[in-house]
């Protein structure tokens, strides 16, 4: 057998009480695009952190270029040619774009002094590779999640790496950037650089990878050439069950819409938005970053009240100036950035779930009714199939998919009439995603109106009656849900105006 670029043999790793990796082995050859797949929490990220020197394994060996590395640390791993795009990006919100991209290169060369103009140059090159244009001097905290992800990607790309590990690099990206990233990966592959790729989006997995390693519950299940696998097999290996692509079928809705907006606008963000959502409808909303879709959602939820136009709930004009107003009108919102906007990471699952309904869980003394809370929590854990050791453990100990369900449960518990979902299945594994979709569809069937913001075309296609496309703060088109394909999307979006070729001005839109 020829020498592998990196070889992990019989790796074991435990955290306080959790046996995260059980005798896992992984081999990546030179110039190979390798995909690591598995459900949330099966140990992918941990395995990656082991090979990048962040975690030391309890047992097992790591070989890079055939050489045994017993005391691997991050800087050594980087110097051995292993670059990682971490799932949480690992970038610095307080530093500039240029620094975030160029700093660890300088660090790896053990530089003592900083040459700012050289750093900016390096950063510019790296960004050009991915084809994005960002203000190099902007602080990263003001950028959107997608931009942050692009920075993390650029940072990894600018190195003379032998292996680039990408832990879910596309979660926050829209179609445009995903395509750009894939082109870059093609280029890297031609240069003989190996890629280890983690993604829950199966189309991406099949499009890119040459070999797939599947993990389950901290163990290897199988490692197989991609052409030997198909979608069904992959899903089965990952989840141990069959998941069929299905579509949300409902009859055409008429009558008073649950929610209707009339020429809604917010200065500088969006204008002339008129849309309506009927009971039982799942309306998709998509568009590139900075198209104003998140701002629209946040206005409907009272976070940044609209400055013009009207909102009707059940035909009644309503004034939504605060989150409490929105709640009062039965509107719920699951934000896009789970970690900062959605979750109280250190707090218990229980608290995370009841936060929006806590005022309704009082006993006659005005105290929190422990029994009521517990039964609410338990019922939602069961309804959504949340896997947790105990509802009292911190929510940060859950995997991404389960965390997403907790946020969903929080708002479903408030019994909303209109549910706005911003990226409902970002970073969620295929099985969980299916479960979440089922929950949403069931609720819609019972009369809930859903506005689903997503970049995931299959997700929109499978779940939505209609899909709206936004661009530069306006709705520019609408499509039947089932026929919403890549082509339709491009047609709607790029056909809108001629300046479509211009680079989007990003960076200023947080």
């Amino acid at each position: 057998m020829p020498k592998a670029l990196i070889e992990l043999n019989h790796i074991n790793k435990s955290f306080a009480g959790v046996h995260a990796l059980k005798d896992v082995s992984l081999r990546i050859d030179y110039g190979e695009v390798h995909c690591l797949a598995g459900e949330n929490g099966c140990g992918k990220s941990t395995l990656i952190k082991v090979m990048s020197g962040v975690h030391a394994p309890d047992h097992g060996e790591i070989r890079i270029d055939g050489e045994l590395r017993s005391q691997l640390n991050p800087i050594e791993a980087i110097n051995s040619g292993v670059q990682v795009i971490y799932q949480d990006f690992s970038i610095f919100p307080n530093l500039t774009v240029a620094e975030n991209i160029a700093l660890n290169g300088e660090l790896a060369q053990r530089k003592k002094w900083i040459n700012w103009s050289k750093m900016r140059q390096t950063a510019k090159q790296a960004l050009d590779k991915v084809g994005v244009d960002l203000d190099l001097n902007a602080k990263v905290e003001h950028l959107s999640v997608a931009d942050k992800q692009l920075i993390a990607i650029s940072r990894a790309l600018m190195h003379r790496a032998k292996l680039i590990v990408m832990d879910e690099p596309t979660t926050a990206l829209t179609q445009k950037e995903v395509r750009a990233l894939f082109r870059v990966i093609e280029g890297l592959k031609r240069d003989g650089i190996s890629i280890l790729f983690v993604s829950h989006k199966l189309e991406e997995v099949f499009e890119l990878s040459e070999r797939i390693t599947i993990m389950r519950n901290g163990k290897n299940v199988i490692s197989e050439r991609t052409d030997q696998l198909n979608r069904e097999k992959l899903v089965y290996y990952m989840t141990g069950r069959q998941i069929d692509e299905s579509y949300y079928e409902v009859e055409k809705k008429t009558g008073t819409p649950l929610l209707r907006t009339d020429n809604l606008s917010l200065k500088g963000c969006f204008e002339h938005i008129s849309l309506s959502i009927h009971p039982g409808e799942i309306v998709g909303l998509t568009g590139l970053l900075g198209s104003g879709r998140t701002e629209l959602a946040e206005s409907l939820f009272g976070l940044t009240p609209a400055t013009g136009g009207l909102i009707y709930r059940d035909g009644q004009a309503v004034n939504i100036q605060s989150v409490q107003d929105a709640e009062g009108h039965g509107i719920a919102y699951v934000p896009e950035d789970r970690l900062t906007e959605g979750l109280f990471l250190e707090q218990s699952i229980e608290r995370n779930m009841v936060v929006s309904v806590i005022d309704g869980q009082k006993d006659k003394w005005g105290m929190i009714d422990g029994k009521k809370v517990k039964s609410t929590v338990r019922s939602w854990i069961e309804k959504l199939g949340i896997v947790a050791h105990s509802p009292l453990s911190p929510v940060k100990t859950l995997s991404g998919g389960n965390q997403q369900r907790v946020v969903l449960a929080r708002w479903l518990a408030a019994n909303p009439k209109v549910l706005i979902l911003n990226g409902p299945s970002v970073g969620v594994d295929i099985g969980s995603k299916e479960d979440i979709h089922q929950v949403i569809r069931d609720l819609a069937r019972q009369g809930l109106g859903v506005l689903m913001i997503s970049d995931d075309l299959p997700e929109l296609r499978q779940n939505c009656n209609r899909v709206l496309v936004m661009k530069r703060g306006r709705i520019i088109g609408e499509s039947e849900g089932k026929s919403f394909t890549q082509e339709v999307w491009s047609q709607l979006h790029d056909g809108h105006d001629e300046e479509a070729g211009l680079a989007e001005n990003r960076g200023s839109t947080a």
Partner: protein
């Protein structure tokens, strides 16, 4: 989907158990257990070092008169710290409000008032103090929540303002001669329990209900751990912060009232050393200075530990500076043990 869910279900069965068990409560938080052990250790050490003075009834009664003020102030500090802030103005509020109360009780009271009348004035004084305490707290809360000034700056500024106002009002002098019925609060006992201790226990009870049983408490803790998420989660951050600082002000005014009852006089600069002590107690008690977490039991144990240490060392006639030295060592030792002991536990039984 339901069969899937049932396959994965592994929820800890003790979750449904609503009954209270000290064992579970202590073991639910290792820090609390360790703090308890350390409190007992300090007590035993002091008892061994000076059994006759430290272990006497007089000594306990003396301690019981000493720690309630710091205890109540620590509760006030704890609330703001859970919200992710800090309240440096508590002592300022305590003095300002108690000076107002004292003025009502001393200056406004008519000459030769009957017992009933003076009780009325005492009540008016107490209510005045509490209302002003709440107002002072609201001022802090407004500056933090509405204007967006970092809490440490707000309360540092308002601390100076409140104390400055107290100096302006009193010209720096003490107000003396509080009615005897009022001093009884500071120096009297009910069935052998000193009044200040009773007031402290009442404050603990109220704070416990508020923090652990009222929705407000949960909101406060959630807000403290992630203010952005709490806004997205439908919590009125402004209201919660206003309430928090107002409560902190209220508790401070209660502490102030106990303080003037103990000293039978009110002055602008009483208890200034309590600010840092309260921070110390609160962090030793396990309250996260970044917000989100805090257990009242921890704070109470920390106050007691400090008191045992302080009275024990006084009994040994060591200098006060040596007390500082020991106190610093104990604080750091506690924290190191908190970090080291769970690590050791994992080593003993991995993957438990």
């Amino acid at each position: 989907m339901s069969n899937h869910a049932s396959k994965r279900r592994g929820t800890d069965s003790s979750y449904d158990d609503l009954s209270f068990s000290i064992k579970r409560w202590l073991s639910s938080d290792g820090n609390l257990t360790r703090l308890f052990v350390i409190m007992v250790l300090v007590f035993v050490t002091m008892a061994i070092l000076s059994p006759r003075t430290f272990l006497s009834l007089d000594s306990f009664s003396s301690m019981a008169f000493q720690f309630p003020v710091l205890g109540i102030l620590s509760l006030a500090m704890m609330l703001s710290m859970i919200s992710g802030g800090i309240d440096l103005s508590i002592v300022g509020i305590a003095n300002l409000t108690s000076i107002l109360a004292a003025m009502v009780m001393v200056r406004l009271i008519p000459e030769g008032a009957s017992a009933g009348t003076s009780l009325l004035y005492i009540a008016v004084g107490i209510v005045c103090a509490m209302i002003v305490g709440i107002l002072c707290g609201l001022l802090n809360g407004f500056a933090v929540a509405k204007i967006g000034i970092p809490p440490i700056l707000v309360t540092l500024g308002s601390m100076q303002m409140f104390m400055g106002l107290a100096i302006v009002i009193t010209k720096g002098q003490a107000i003396v001669g509080l009615p005897e019925q009022f001093s009884a609060i500071g120096n009297g006992s009910v069935v052998g329990i000193p009044m200040p201790l009773i007031i402290f226990i009442l404050c603990i009870g109220a704070a416990y209900l508020l923090l652990n049983r009222r929705p407000f408490g949960m909101k406060l803790q959630l807000l403290g751990s992630n203010p952005t998420a709490s806004r997205y989660g439908g919590i009125r951050n402004t209201t919660v912060l206003l309430k928090t600082y107002a409560l902190s002000g209220l508790l401070a005014s209660i502490a102030g009232l106990v303080m003037i009852a103990l000293t039978n006089s009110a002055k602008a600069d009483y208890g200034t050393s309590y600010i840092l002590q309260a921070i110390l107690v609160v962090v030793l008690g396990g309250v996260n200075p970044n917000g989100g977490f805090g257990k009242i039991a921890g704070v109470v144990m920390a106050v007691l530990t400090l008191q045992f240490l302080s009275s024990g060392l006084n009994a040994l006639h060591v200098g006060n500076f040596f007390k500082d030295f020991i106190w610093g060592i104990v604080l750091i030792l506690v924290m190191v043990i908190n970090v080291v002991s769970p690590r050791m536990k994992w080593k003993r039984k991995p993957a438990g």
